[in-house]
């Protein structure tokens, strides 16, 4: 079955299960190979080593294999637009529920497969170099190996998510990527960014996992509602039943979409569940790029697009989703302006861009949303990986200083803090140029990828949801501003720290994936140009989503967004580069914005607010339940006072008056009577034989007398 058809018409659909098996094989090899090597060494006295290179190669080949298979699906789909459903195994057959492990190949799932495997493969290769350079690596090959096992695990889970043919299979992948995300955020679980002992990273991992639990709860409720009202988890069956449900119970349909939105908010970091994503930057940079920017966090967008037939039926649902996305986009953008950590800026930018996508799919602009998802995967992966390269460069500079003539090594140096950077374009030219391309793409400057996709979202919003359009335009302005601020602070001006002055460019294994991603970020927009005849991506997705409204280029919308982006960039230049920042200088925005900037800087105190209103309230509730309800009420009062005390009283009563008084006396009276009687009777036993003989005689006479006289 799995190898079966590569028939004459070029169908590669049968290969699709290998998109999951390939990374699983990769991770199994990486798990067991070190043991095998050790066994070989002990048995045959060889001196083999399962090296970093082998680990990285196996993992990257596994990821590369998924990309090849995804490409083959693309080729097959080119001839068979309708796609295919490839059954692999029976899964759950209980009562009316018949659920099989089916893979679904259509243009939507294949798009996701290509993005995940393509970007994933590049990031695997990048990680070979990055993880080796990480200051915390310290030649711990076992941990290096574990990192790639987790990465392959993530690819496998993500592939299940995007290729599943039912909501339940999607949920399996959904939880799987959550697990991989947890494992990778907490990868350096016992140390902070500098390798000092700390639980910050494992706390960040827990925060991500638990916040996602809240979202998963929403997803599960939505799934249960779908099953109870439409009788299936399978996509086609559910979508066929949806219009009838919309007619009979529109409120249930709205409920399904709202609970699904909670799931989306968890996984795709939307208000109010976005708080885990900035903390997730505790993970190694390739993880931030792969999981927390390019792929996993877009699972929510994929879910809404996949459920398009449900969302399209309810205008209220669309309105809610679009508004949540738009507000998230603006809110996160304001926070990004006030951050100093290079990765935190990108993290909030990711939340903001995810807001764009969610708003787009919420409005029903599924093509625009998916288009932005793809281009964002390119340029945000590029930006994160470049940021990783910058961090490595600074670490190298710092290392150089520590081993040079500068002896004072006591100061705490954060290689991710933009206030320590400056002027890096001279030391790290490759990183600088790819970073510029990523920035231009993100800021939406013509003709880079982000311009086309963001513009499509804005255009659709201006037609259907004006309030979303205004919010998103403001967010786009801030996007260009914070990216300008970041570039000026990192790459221009003068070095504000000696480490930055001595930074060194990263090796080729790190920069080559960057260059490939830069090319994709520059050219990615051309797969869906807003001119007649060039809507390739839209027509591609039409095979899955049905008829799609294709919009042309609106010069007003495109012009306004480009103009705003340029104004924002110029404004950021005016603030941050006209007089380059010096070491220790406060942010130039601090003075004019005052309290507003304090809010941005501190993420609007949302974490603190959650801590105070939710976590503390929850802790107080648990304390109340534990101390007052459980201990004082149940243990002290109910158990001890009511049950135990009454029981003791009852047993005392039963023991003393009842048992001792009644039962014992009764038996004593009986015993006394028996004793008295027997005392009397024993006197008859004289011991004289003649007495016994006499009584025998009397007895015989009595019996004979009776027989002769009475019974006659």
């Amino acid at each position: 079955m799995l190898f079966s058809e590569t028939t004459s018409s070029g169908q590669f659909f049968g290969l699709v299960p290998w998109i999951v098996f390939a990374p699983i094989i990769g991770l199994l090899i990486n798990i067991f190979a070190p043991y095998l090597v050790r066994w070989l060494n002990q048995t045959f006295k060889t001196e083999l080593v399962w090296s970093e290179t082998a680990t990285g190669l196996v993992a990257s080949l596994a990821a590369g294999a998924t990309f090849v298979i995804a490409t083959l699906q693309l080729i097959s789909l080119g001839q068979h637009h309708e796609g295919a459903i490839i059954p692999v195994a029976e899964w759950i057959h209980v009562g009316p529920l018949a659920l099989d492990w089916n893979f679904r190949v259509d243009s939507l799932s294949t798009t996701m497969m290509l993005v995940v495997s393509g970007v994933g493969t590049l990031i695997h290769i990048y990680a070979i170099g990055y993880m080796h350079e990480d200051v915390r690596f310290k030649n711990d090959v076992g941990r290096y190996n574990r990192f790639f096992v987790f990465l392959n695990l993530f690819i496998a889970a993500m592939m299940i998510l995007v290729s599943g043919d039912s909501y339940l299979m999607l949920f399996v992948g959904w939880e799987g990527v959550g697990l991989a995300s947890f494992l990778l955020i907490g990868f350096w679980y016992d140390m902070d960014t500098l390798g000092r002992p700390s639980w910050a990273n494992s706390n960040a991992a827990k925060k991500a996992f638990i916040t996602n639990r809240v979202g998963d709860f929403g997803f599960l409720i939505a799934g249960f509602l779908i099953f109870s009202y439409m009788g299936s988890f399978q996509f086609d069956t559910v979508f066929a039943a949806a219009p009838e449900l919309a007619h009979a119970h529109p409120e249930i349909l709205l409920l399904i979409t709202v609970f699904m939105l909670i799931g989306v908010a968890g996984k795709s970091a939307q208000i109010p569940l976005y708080v885990w994503l900035p903390d997730a930057m505790a993970g190694p940079t390739p993880v931030s790029a792969l999981i927390h920017a390019a792929t996993m966090v877009t699972a929510g967008v994929y879910l809404v697009t996949r459920s398009a037939p449900i969302f399209s039926l309810s205008h209220d649902a669309q309105y809610i989703v679009a508004t949540v996305g738009a507000v998230t986009a603006l809110f996160a953008a304001t926070i990004a302006v006030g951050q100093y950590d290079i990765k935190k800026v990108l993290a909030y930018s990711t939340i903001s861009q995810l807001g764009f996508m969610v708003a787009a799919v919420g409005m029903g602009a599924y093509v625009a949303g998916m288009f932005h998802l793809v281009t964002h995967a390119f340029f945000k992966a590029l930006l994160f990986l470049s940021a990783g390269s910058v961090i490595l460069g600074l670490e190298r500079g710092h290392h150089h200083l520590a081993h040079g003539h500068h002896a004072d090594h006591a100061e705490v140096f954060d290689p991710g803090d933009m206030r320590n950077m400056g002027g890096l374009r001279k030391q790290m030219p490759v990183t600088f140029w790819v970073y510029m391309i990523g920035t231009l793409a993100l800021a939406g400057i013509f003709p880079f990828a982000g311009f086309w996709s963001k513009d499509e979202i804005l255009l659709d919003a201006s037609r259907h949801f004006p309030h979303v359009y205004w919010i998103l335009t403001a967010a786009a302005f801030l996007t260009a501003f914070y990216m300008g601020r970041q570039v000026w602070m990192v790459f221009f001006g003068e070095a504000r720290h000696e480490a930055a002055a001595h930074a060194q460019e990263s090796p080729l294994i790190v920069t080559i994936p960057l260059m490939i991603l830069a090319a994709l970020s520059a050219l990615g927009g051309f797969m869906n140009l807003p001119f007649a005849g060039f809507h390739n991506f839209a027509h591609w997705l039409e095979h899955t989503l049905g008829e799609i409204e294709v919009l042309g280029l609106d010069f007003a919308v495109a012009g306004i967004s480009t103009l705003l982006a340029l104004v924002a960039s110029a404004f950021s230049w005016f603030l941050y580069l006209r007089k380059p920042l010096t070491s220790g200088q406060p942010d130039p925005l601090k003075k004019p914005l005052g309290l507003l900037f304090v809010g941005m800087e501190n993420k609007w105190f949302i974490d603190e607010a959650y801590q105070h209103f939710i976590l503390n309230a929850y802790a107080n509730l648990s304390k109340f339940l534990a101390q007052t309800i459980d201990w004082d009420f149940w243990h002290e009062w109910f158990h001890n006072s009511v049950i135990a005390k009454n029981f003791v009283g009852l047993t005392r009563f039963l023991a003393d008056p009842v048992d001792l008084g009644v039962v014992d006396n009764l038996s004593k009276v009986l015993a006394d009577w028996v004793q008295e009687t027997s005392q009397t009777l024993r006197e008859m036993q004289t011991g004289y034989v003649r007495h016994y003989a006499l009584s025998v005689l009397v007895g015989v006479v009595a019996i004979l007398g009776y027989l002769l006289l009475v019974s006659r």
């Binding site: 011991g687 034989v689 003989a693 005689l697």
Partner: protein, 100 residues
């Protein structure tokens, strides 16, 4: 021919004498002899009835009783010898250790 009533009366007198002997006398050997007297009183009645009814079953009974009496005497005398060895008396009133 002597009427059977005489035999019966004689038998009853013998039986009563034997019973009195058992109840009154203290010497174990005498008690034994009294028991023999009672048995033989019974034998006498059997024989008398046997003669009246012209049947031999009464006489057969008598033979059985004699055999049993002989056996009884053998056992009884052995008991008395054993008791005498331990107590040096055969006074029946001395043997009251089972009294209550």
């Amino acid at each position: 021919m002597i009427p059977v009533t005489y035999y019966i009366i004689f038998s009853a007198v013998l039986f009563s004498l034997g019973t009195l002997g058992v109840l009154i006398r203290r010497n174990s050997l005498v008690i034994f002899m009294s028991i023999e007297l009672m048995l033989n009183a019974a034998n006498l009645s059997f024989v008398a009835f046997s003669r009246i009814h012209e049947s031999f079953s009464g006489q057969i009974f008598v033979f059985f009783i004699m055999a049993v009496a002989a056996a009884e005497v053998a056992v009884g005398l052995a008991l008395i010898v054993t008791i005498y060895r331990s107590r040096h008396t055969i006074d029946i009133d001395g043997m009251s250790s089972l009294k209550g």
